[in-house]
Amino acid sequence: MNSPRERILARLKAAPKAAAPLRPDWTPPAYDAATRKARFKSMLEASHADVHEVSATDWPERLKTILANKGVGTMIYAPGTDAGKLLAGSWGDSPTRLVAYDRPVEDFKDVLVSRADAGFTTTKGGIAQTGSLVLWPTPDEPRLMSLLPPIHVALVEEASLTDSLAETIRAQGWAGQMPTNAVLVSGPSKTADIEQTLAYGVHGPKELIVLLIGSVSP
């Protein structure tokens, strides 16, 4: 009984037992395909995100136009992902320069913290109920891409949309394979700490641009 750990656990174990209650039924919402997509879009838009419906092949061109219209000078991207390869391969001539996040943060901090105007990431899914993107960073696609630049661009496939987080966790088998860091993103960074007035981009992105790739099925 010498360590704080032992003393704390001993006290907790000595406490009178209460039966663990059954978890009563609770059903998260379910939608049909059309409602699912509409809800996903409208919830994201309500959180101040821009959603663009794109196709599996035209999205790099569409993105180029969106960024050029906004005057975005540089965008960081992950060169190792399939989307990153497609992006780099078809980028061609554009006022927006692509910069690869291809080294440890220690050697990339300056770009991340003060130079990149936008960051591009893929997503592992989207959640209709709350209009959330599931980001599942990997060695190829690091965590800070979606957080430090003033604009975050995220690519979502309609086929990956689920109705609720509860469904996502079960359908994608999260419990057995949690990554270093999983993140749900539902809009750009915001705060209401000053007189409950909404302000965007307090620490993270001021803008969230979502490219939603339609599914092939009708």
Partner: protein, 478 residues
């Protein structure tokens, strides 16, 4: 900060707050808005009822299995590469955090929003040892600049209006012009904190839920400061009370659906951050070391009483304070401790002791507004009554810290006299006769009467008792 050394009177501070029109206006505006937004989220009563039942059961389940789940959490965190530490007291927790920082040679720390580190007064401890903590949640940053404590657990600077914040930024941030434009104020904080994030040697955060099944720390927030604090610096230290554990990952969604909706009326927070390990081989960012500090600070004593244990279900949404007729009029600083409002007056006396914060359970009208909105069904008013009882008639020794501390010889004697008066018809008759003759001569400052008359008019005794009047009218009371 003064909590340990001095009993702080809620009543006296409440009077000051009630007479501060600016504070009253700031809270009134904020709380009215929060109540409306929450109500809109739970307009579907059937959904609220079933979701809430699930949320309450999830938390009660975790508390029923608390020691086992903490051991499972520890084992899974270790397996994932997170180092786990246990602290019985806030002093131990502060020493652990300082030790980790010193071993890493850390001098500057960026902090995500965390109430448990407020409970520990961690910032003061770090500063005393030459380490600079910078609060990065905008609200926390504002009150850190002002040298104040949070007045609300979700919106720490809710007691301040735009003009006060504009003045503060103008004074404290070099080159910042006075502006009441919220976007400009927010941008100023972003600019001031960017460098602090980039230069910090370590990040410190709290934890909303710790999942035993996977060894995952869940943090929710809107600003991204929590994500930055736990990703950019090379070292991350998470601190949590031992009650925040959940059994399964499946337990997260219902609570996540209850917390932000109850707190700010949002369907979900902008970011839900789930941390399961330090940076792995080949990953390009994230901290190289992650530590988890599990703090008891009296929670295991609360857990030891099966009735009071419900206190620990709390998920810190603050709906109870947003709806409390007392809190909304006096604000969070009146409570003098880290956790204000209904959950505070329930939790604080149990953590700090009834001898130290025993007046807090009385700062309630028992109107049950807090219980009605609690997303995990904590019976706050019932437990407040239990604490009031404990302060004068302790149950089992040690169940509540400082139980019996409000027992006074005068009061005990008073009740004994009352019993005697009511048990004997003769003494009762003499007593009421005496009060009719001399009761009005009793000064307001008499023991027991003094406190009662501080907010009420002293009662006036009638010259004749009801019994006498009845007898004169011909009624028989035998």
């Amino acid at each position: 900060m003064v909590a340990e050394t001095k009993k702080l009177e809620f009543g006296a501070k409440a009077h000051v707050a009630l007479n501060d029109p600016k504070l009253r206006a700031n809270f009134r505006r904020a709380m009215d808005g929060l109540m409306t937004k929450r109500a809109a989220q739970f307009a579907d009563v059937a959904e609220w009822t079933s979701l809430r039942a699930r949320g309450a059961a999830v938390r009660a389940n975790a508390l029923a299995k608390l020691p086992e789940l903490l051991e499972q959490l520890e084992a899974n965190c270790r397996k994932n590469g997170i180092q786990v530490h246990w602290a019985e007291t806030t002093a131990e927790a502060n020493a652990i955090v300082l030790g980790i920082l010193e071993a890493a040679g850390a001098k500057t720390v960026i902090k995500g929003k965390s109430m448990v580190t407020e409970e520990m007064h961690l910032n003061a401890h770090l500063e005393k040892h030459g380490i600079t903590p910078v609060e990065s949640d905008l609200g926390e940053y504002i009150i850190q600049l002002a040298g104040e404590a949070p007045s609300h657990i979700v919106m720490p600077c809710i007691h301040k209006n735009k003009a006060e914040i504009a003045e503060l930024f103008h004074d404290k941030i070099a080159g910042q012009a006075y502006t009441e434009n919220v976007d400009e104020l927010t941008a100023a904080a972003r600019a001031a904190l960017r460098g602090a994030f980039a230069g910090a040697d370590a990040g410190i955060s709290g934890v909303n839920f710790a999942v035993a099944e996977t060894g995952t720390l869940v943090l929710i927030e809107n600003e991204g400061n929590g994500r930055l604090s736990t990703t950019l610096p090379p070292l991350h230290i998470a601190v949590t009370g031992i009650e925040k554990v959940l059994e399964k990952l499946d337990d997260v969604p219902p609570l996540l659906s209850l917390l932000p909706r109850s707190a700010t009326g949002q369907p979900i927070t902008t970011y839900v951050n789930m941390i399961s390990s330090p940076r792995k081989e080949g990953e390009k960012d994230g901290p190289k070391a992650v530590h988890l500090v599990l703090l008891d600070n009296g929670r295991s004593r609360v857990h030891g009483d099966t009735e009071l244990r419900d206190t620990l279900r709390c998920i810190r949404c603050a709906a109870c304070m947003n709806h409390c007729p007392v809190y909304t009029r006096v604000g969070g600083h009146t409570y003098s401790f880290t956790y204000p409002g209904p959950i505070g007056k329930l939790l604080t006396p149990q953590l700090e002791g009834l001898d130290c914060a025993g007046d807090q359970p009385h700062a309630s009208t028992l109107c049950r507004a807090c219980a009605d909105v609690c997303p995990v069904k904590i019976p706050i008013p019932d437990l407040l009554v239990r604490l009031r009882t404990e302060s004068v008639r302790p149950t089992s020794p040690g169940a509540v810290k400082g139980a019996g501390s409000a027992t006074s010889a005068t009061e005990t004697l008073g009740w004994k006299g009352w019993t005697l008066l009511y048990a004997s018809p003769l003494v009762y008759r003499i007593g009421t006769r005496m009060l009719g003759w001399f009761g009005n001569l009793m000064p307001s400052s008499a023991p027991m009467l003094k406190q009662w008359t501080s907010v009420r008019t002293k009662p006036k005794f009638a010259p004749k008792s009801l019994h006498e009047l009845a007898r004169e009218k011909g009624f028989c009371d035998e």
